[in-house]
Amino acid sequence: MKILVCISHVPDTTSKINFSEGDTKFDTNGVQFIINPNDEYGLTRAMWFKEKQGATVDVVNVGGPETEPTLRKALALGADGAIRVNTPAVDGYAVAEQLAKVFTDGSYDLVIAGRESIDYNGGMVPGMLAGLTDANFINTCISLEIDGTNVKAIREIDGGKETVSTTLPLVIGAQKGLVEESDLRIPNMRGIMMARKKPLTVLEPVEASQETESVKFEKPTPKGAVTLVSPDNLDELVNLLHNEAKVI
C-alpha cells in the first residue's frame, strides 16, 4: 500500500497571532512552526500501517522552502520520502489542486490529511482533494483498518460515532482519536540522522486557480475584566447569569 500524508506547516499552538502590512499578512516574526496536530495523528497512523502491514509512506506539503524543516521532521518520524510542491498555499482549493496531481501521479492508495489546519481552519483540503480525484472520502476519522482494498473506519459525528465501510483509493480527514495520544512520537537522534539522507523532492506546481482570497485580518475586540463572585454568594451568580448575561 502506498500512503501519502499531507503535512500542513502551521504556527505552534501557543503562538501569539499578529499581522503586518496593514493587517493583510500573518506576521511570522518569532513564530515557531510545527506539523499541524491533525496531520500528526494521521502520520502516526500511517507509520502503524508501514510497520504492521508493510506500507510505504510519503509526506507532502504545498509551500515555499520555509516549510522544509517541517517535512524533515516528518521524515525523522519515519516517513520514507517527502515532496514539496513549490508554490505558496494561497487557499484550500489551490492546495487541493496541487495535491490532486501528486496523488494521481504517484498512484497512492490512501491519502491522509488532517481534518483541518489550525491556522485557517478551513476544513476544505481533504474533501476537495477527494472531490477532484473521485476518491472515496471519510472525514473526522477516528479509526481506520485496511484489509487489501477493503476499508473499515469509524468517524466522529455530532453526538456520537458512525461506522463506515469503503474501498481504496481513499482520502481521510484525520483527527484526534485516530491514534492513542501515547503513540505520538518525538523524533530521536537516529531518526533525525536518517531523515537527512531521505529524498525531499521539490516539484514545480501545476497551473491552478485561486477561488478565494484573504483581504484582511482583524483581531477580536479585547474583553472586559471578569466579574468575580464569592463562592458564598451563588445567588448573586444566578442573578447575574439571568439578569445581566441573560443566558439562563
Binding site: T212, K216, S230
Partner: protein
C-alpha cells in the same frame, strides 16, 4: 437566481441550525435583492421554514436519503443549486455540513468560505468575515468564483424571524451510488450534544477522576446543557473523545460555557472563544481562564458545583 440554503434535519425534524442558516440566507438574499430557496431532505414540515424568510422549499422525500451520506447529499444539493441557478449557497457548520461542503464546492466549482460569522461585508466583490487561527483572529475573505459557497459558524448570527409563506415543491433528484457505506450509527439519544447545546458544562483535570462527573452531569441536567471536557480528561479516558473541546477537539460556540477545574490553556481557549458568556470555577485565582472569563468563582469545584446546582434548581422552580 435565489440564494440556496441547505436546511438540515434529523428524523424528520429541523435542527436549530437550519433556522439559523435560513435567517442568514435571507439576510444575504436581501443584500442581493433576491429570494431564498431551501433544499430540505426528508423533513416533515417544510412550511415552517417560511418563518425564517424562505419563500420556496425544494422538498425531497426519499428513503435512500434516510441515512446521511456526504457525497450523495452533496450531489442532491448540487442538483438543487443548478436548478435554481443559485449564485450563493449556504450551509451550516455541523459535522455533516462540514463533511459535504468541500465535495459540494468541487461539484459546483464554487469558492468556499467556512466558519463565516457575519453577513457579507460586501456582495460585489463577495466578501465575508470568517474566523481564523482557531478563533484568535478574523479574516475577511473574498470569493471570486461565479458560484459562492458559505459555511456559517454556529450561533454566529442567531435566528431571525422574517415571516413569509414558503411554497413547498417536490423535488426528485437523481440519487447516485456512492462508495462509502454507513454501516452503523451510534448516537446518544436524549442527551444534548455539544453541537446543538445553548449551554455547555465542561470539566477539566481539576475534577480528579471520572467518578466525580456525576456533579457535572447534574449541573448540565438542570441547565439542559451538554457536557464537555478538556483534552487531558479525554486522553486519560475519563470522558469520551467526542466531548473534548479546544483546538484539537470540538469548537464550542454556546451562549454560556461553564469551565470547571480547567486551567484555560491557550489550546483550550481557542476552541471556546466563540462562546458568548464564559463562567469559570477554579481553585486557583491565577488560572489563566479567569482572564478570558466573564464571570468567575474562585473556589473548590466539589463545593461550588453542587451548591450552584441547588440554586439553579430553585431558580428554575421559581421561574417555571
Amino acid at each position: 437566481m435565489s440564494v440556496l440554503v441547505y436546511t438540515e434535519s434529523e428524523q424528520g425534524k429541523y435542527k436549530k441550525v437550519a433556522f439559523e442558516v435560513a435567517s442568514y440566507a435571507r439576510a444575504v438574499a436581501d443584500q442581493l435583492g433576491t429570494t431564498v430557496t431551501a433544499i430540505s431532505i426528508n423533513a416533515e414540515d417544510p412550511s415552517v421554514l417560511g418563518t425564517y424568510g424562505v419563500t420556496k422549499v425544494l422538498h425531497v422525500k426519499d428513503a435512500k436519503l434516510d441515512t446521511f451520506n456526504a457525497k450523495t447529499y452533496a450531489d442532491v444539493i448540487k442538483q438543487a443549486a443548478e436548478q435554481e441557478a443559485s449564485k450563493v449557497v449556504v450551509v451550516s457548520s455541523t459535522a455533516d455540513s462540514k463533511y459535504l461542503a468541500p465535495l459540494l464546492a468541487i461539484g459546483l466549482k464554487a469558492g468556499y468560505a467556512s466558519n463565516v460569522v457575519a453577513a457579507p461585508t460586501s456582495v460585489s466583490p463577495f466578501t465575508v468575515k470568517r474566523t481564523a487561527f482557531t478563533n484568535k483572529a478574523f479574516n475577511l475573505t473574498r470569493i471570486s468564483t461565479d458560484v459562492k459557497l458559505v459555511g456559517l459558524s454556529k450561533n454566529s448570527v442567531g435566528l431571525k424571524e422574517n415571516a413569509t409563506t414558503a411554497e413547498v415543491t417536490d423535488f426528485s433528484p437523481s440519487i447516485p451510488e456512492n462508495g462509502v457505506h454507513v454501516e452503523a450509527v451510534d448516537k446518544a439519544t436524549n442527551t444534548v450534544t455539544i453541537a446543538d447545546a445553548e449551554i455547555v458544562v465542561s470539566g477539566g483535570r481539576g475534577l480528579k477522576g471520572p467518578e466525580n462527573w456525576g456533579m457535572i452531569e447534574e449541573l448540565a441536567d438542570v441547565l439542559d446543557a451538554a457536557t464537555a471536557c478538556s483534552k487531558p480528561v479525554s486522553d486519560l479516558g475519563w470522558r469520551p473523545h467526542g466531548e473534548h473541546v479546544g483546538q484539537t477537539g470540538k469548537p464550542v460556540a454556546a451562549n454560556l460555557y461553564i469551565a470547571i477545574g480547567i486551567s484555560g490553556a491557550i489550546q483550550h481557549l481557542a476552541g471556546i472563544n466563540a462562546s458568548k458568556v464564559k463562567l469559570v470555577i477554579n481553585t486557583d485565582p491565577e488560572a489563566p481562564f479567569f482572564k478570558a472569563a466573564d464571570y468567575g468563582v474562585v473556589g473548590d469545584a466539589f463545593e461550588v458545583v453542587p451548591a450552584l446546582t441547588e440554586k439553579l434548581k430553585a431558580f428554575k422552580a421559581q421561574n417555571a
